[in-house]
């Protein structure tokens, strides 16, 4: 078997192990919360008998370890349980919410990633001159402003004053793709501005690092034009760090956009999680925690595999 496949298999196994550890943490964390599920369903008017009945019905009288394993096994089979507040299947509820979140993250990434890489290449090409400085200044300024502030600025100027995009980004299944894209215009713009600088700076730094190498000098002496050197010779060697930072930002786009969702009233995972945390709906919180952890671990796994695959030294370790 090729060493690459072995490496990837190892990484995947490690990722799964990590996910298992996270699931223990999530379960233990929610166990530590004051009061249990039965108490939070019944509320203040709970009588001791009602509490005992409810605990027995829900299997809460069993030891935590056996409850953890039964939760884990049903979660592996895709059964995340039912929400306490609405009594509905968590899996089906989350499916549409996660779909919305991925939709927003996808379009933000489709714009942000190529733009960041392109701007990074451009900054390297004109290193130390005004295009480089302008790109850095603009992207750093946009990352320095809190995202809710950028959001409000865009709402005021683009939605209220100019009327180009709606300020409320609510989307629903009966909308056409075009309508959906129009609706999410502003949140996508905010997310792009927030993640752009990080990826752009990393691309720039990684390529500049490679640009010091002797083989780049050779390419220059061959008489190749500057942009071709950067794109064909320097960039492939800088892919690993760039992919790492891209994946980190993609994970952020999926799990870290609660504020943007609230400002633009976008029906994604963040709002869903916050609503259930405030109602102490523990099964939903556990399910969301598990999904968020899986996304993080999964994306980092991809980053690892890509760095290995693009780096011959890692592909053929001694």
């Amino acid at each position: 078997m090729s060493p690459l496949i072995t490496l990837v298999a190892q990484r995947i196994a490690l990722g799964l192990l990590l996910l298992l550890a996270v699931s223990v943490l999530i379960f233990a964390g929610t166990e530590l919360l004051p009061g249990d599920v039965a108490a939070s369903i019944l509320g203040q008017s709970a009588t001791p008998e009602a509490l005992a009945n409810m605990r027995r019905d829900m299997g809460l009288d069993e030891p935590a370890v056996s409850r953890y394993f039964s939760w884990l096994f049903s979660a592996i089979q895709g059964d995340l349980g039912t929400a306490l507040t609405s009594g509905q299947e968590i899996s089906s509820q989350i499916a549409s919410r996660l779909g919305n979140t991925l939709f927003l993250a996808f379009w933000a990434a489709v714009i942000a990633v190529p733009l960041a890489v392109f701007l990074g290449l451009l900054a390297v090409r004109y290193e130390g001159r005004w295009p480089d400085k302008a790109i850095s200044a603009v992207t750093l300024a946009s990352i320095s402003l809190p995202e809710f502030f950028i959001g409000y600025l865009l709402i005021y100027f683009v939605a209220v004053k100019l009327g180009w995009f709606p300020s409320v980004a609510t989307i629903y299944p009966s909308m056409s793709l075009g309508e959906k894209l129009h609706a999410i215009g502003l949140p996508v713009a905010v997310l792009v501005m927030v993640v752009l600088a990080h990826m752009m700076r990393m691309t720039r730094a990684a390529i500049l690092n490679v640009m010091q190498s002797a083989y780049i000098e050779t390419a220059e002496l061959k008489g190749l034009n500057q942009f071709k050197i950067i794109w064909r010779h320097a960039f492939p060697n800088a892919i690993a760090p760039v992919v790492n930072v891209v994946m980190l930002n993609l994970a952020y786009l999926i799990v870290g956009v609660v504020v943007v969702e609230v400002i633009f009233v976008y029906p994604g995972m963040g709002q869903y999680l916050v609503d259930h945390v405030s109602k102490r709906d523990v099964p939903v919180v556990q399910a969301c925690g598990l999904i968020f952890a899986a996304v993080y671990i999964g994306l980092n796994l991809i980053a690892d595999v890509v760095s290995i695959a693009t780096n011959p030294r890692l592909r053929h370790p001694k």
Binding site: T85, Q93, I155, A159, S167, T170, Y172, I263, V265
Partner: protein
């Protein structure tokens, strides 16, 4: 005003001319945008409702954890949604009083102990089934059941028995209550087929609209119920209710024309919004109030003089001006104001008086500092209001310490648990209901631990009193007892602040809660 302009504004109201060209013509005649806009509103009201179109409503309060079951409705969004698809037996009238809904008429025995509601004939649920007295009975039984989780359970407790006879739904009470029909206006008590026992969240009702599509905590779409009995209600053919919890999102959605009306405009931006040409800010004075509550049975607040000292040590005018930005009125340590039917406006006034406060502090013999707990969600700007209270009390020699509690858990850990904290009340339609909810010795939510025999006696006798003059006098006396002896410091009544765009017309001031008691989407119409 020129006749031409009047003529043109009528054309706009009838939909014969578009708003933009009207504004242009008005500007050409030297009339400003605001004046021109108000011309259109006047003309629109005079021309009468226009049928059709879509009205979009942005409301605060919904969450993904909500349910469509009327029994568990507990926020502005849930109430708005209920009003669209369902109806109670009777409803608060536009200018006080009662309006018949599912009940065509109602009457009581002379002693106000037995009440008969006659069910409107010929109306049906949105699934086509005719409405019967049995459905009403089943509905009320569901909310009154021992197992019930209904928010209306408390007001059903006074009922001895209920029955259905032909077209009549008959309620027999344990003790006489002249206000029973007011209790039936409670928003939980939506009449459902078979009482909603089989399908509590089915959203099948008799309301002017039918729920077509929804996503909890996000969006609700309604279409006009073609068989609705009252032609005065429900002008738009489609109504969309959007949940917009973020204040800025809500106000900017109205400004950018994504919604036509919103509730809960933050007081600090209401003045600015009113200046926009396409937006009207609508204020309604209501029974809602922001309060500081002391437990009358816990030291040091079990001392009447200390309670009075604190009542005189708060600067009410300053709070109305700085916390409500003028959108409200001064409170007088009773939960009752002009929005109640038997209000007496001749009560002595508790005004800011550091000398009197110092006098009562001395009388109380209390020496030390008082701990006030507050949080951001107890009412908007509650920590700021507490700081103002602290300053005004200092002038009277009262040391007030403020402890800021987290929003999370405030209603379970602090309110109704700790002896002195900030809170709010939404008010109730009648004095009887307000007093029985929170000031009767045995009340569920007696959050001031106020126990007074004379107060309880007055409440029960006023409830059975059918003579309005005597009843008003009793309620006056009860307010006096609360002011003098109670644990309630009520410095201000907050107005409801809503806003509508000029795309819709037909706003009228209403009794009840915000957005014309949540009837604005049905009573207003698309004007242009």
């Amino acid at each position: 005003m020129s006749n031409e302009l009047k003529f043109l504004s009528n054309r706009v109201a009838r939909g014969l001319m578009d708003r933009r060209s009207f504004m242009g013509r008005a500007a050409a005649m030297g009339v400003g945008a605001t004046a021109a806009s108000s011309l259109i509103s006047t003309a629109a009201l005079a021309a009468g409702p226009i049928k059709g179109g879509t009205i979009k409503v942005g409301v605060q309060g919904g969450a993904t954890t909500d349910s469509l079951d009327p029994a568990t409705a507990a926020n502005d969004t849930a109430i708005q949604v209920l009003r669209m698809w369902g109806e109670p037996l009777v409803e608060l009238g536009q200018s006080g009083g009662l309006e018949p809904k599912v009940a065509e008429s109602f009457s009581s025995s002379p002693d106000a102990k037995i009440w008969t509601f006659k069910i409107r004939s010929g109306i049906s649920f949105s699934d086509g089934k005719p409405v019967t007295a049995e459905d009403v009975l089943a509905t009320m039984k569901r909310h009154a059941g021992e197992e019930s989780k209904s928010g209306a359970l408390g007001i059903m407790r006074g009922i001895e028995s209920m029955k259905a006879e032909g077209d009549n739904f008959i309620v027999e009470l344990k003790t006489p209550n002249a206000d029973l029909p007011y209790l039936m206006t409670d928003y939980h008590l939506i009449v459902q087929p078979d009482g909603g026992v089989n399908d509590p969240a089915g959203a099948i009702g008799t309301g002017p609209y039918i729920l077509k599509d929804y996503e909890m905590g996000v969006r609700f779409v309604f279409e006009k119920n073609p068989n609705y009995w009252d032609s005065e209600l429900g002008h738009a053919s489609t109504v969309e209710v959007l949940v917009l919890n973020d204040d800025t999102a809500r106000t900017s959605a109205l400004q950018s024309g994504q919604v036509d009306m919103i509730n809960r405009v933050p007081p600090r931006v209401a003045g600015l919004m009113d200046r926009l040409p396409n937006v009207d800010v609508r204020t309604t004075s209501g029974p809602g109030h922001y309060v500081f509550i002391m437990h009358c049975d816990t030291a040091p607040f079990d001392n009447k003089d200390l309670r009075l000292a604190l009542k005189y040590a708060i600067n009410r005018e300053e709070l109305v001006e700085k916390i409500l930005f003028g959108y409200g009125s001064v409170g007088n340590d009773t939960p009752i104001n002009g929005s109640y039917p038997y209000f007496s406006d001749d009560l002595p006034v508790h005004s800011y008086d550091p000398d009197k406060a110092a006098y009562h502090l001395k009388q109380s013999g209390f020496d030390g500092s008082v701990l006030l707990r507050t949080s951001d969600n107890s009412f908007p700007s509650a920590p700021d209001a507490s700081a103002l209270f602290q300053q005004s009390a200092k002038a009277a020699g009262i040391q007030l310490d403020i402890k800021r509690e987290p929003n999370d858990g405030y209603w379970s850990e602090v309110w109704n648990q700790q002896p002195f904290c900030t809170s709010y009340w939404g008010g109730r339609p009648t004095q009887d209901q307000m007093f029985s909810t929170a000031y009767l010795s045995t009340a569920d939510w007696n959050d001031t631990r106020f126990k007074s025999e004379s107060f309880d006696d007055l409440l029960l006798s006023a409830r059975a009193e059918l003579d309005d003059v005597k009843r008003k006098e009793m309620y006056r006396e009860m307010s006096l007892i609360l002011m003098e002896d109670g644990g309630l410091i009520c410095p201000m009544f907050n107005d409801f602040i809503d806003a509508t765009s000029n795309r819709v017309a037909g706003w009228e001031t209403s009794a009840g809660y915000d957005l014309m008691n949540s009837y604005a989407p049905m009573k207003m119409w698309v004007a242009g």
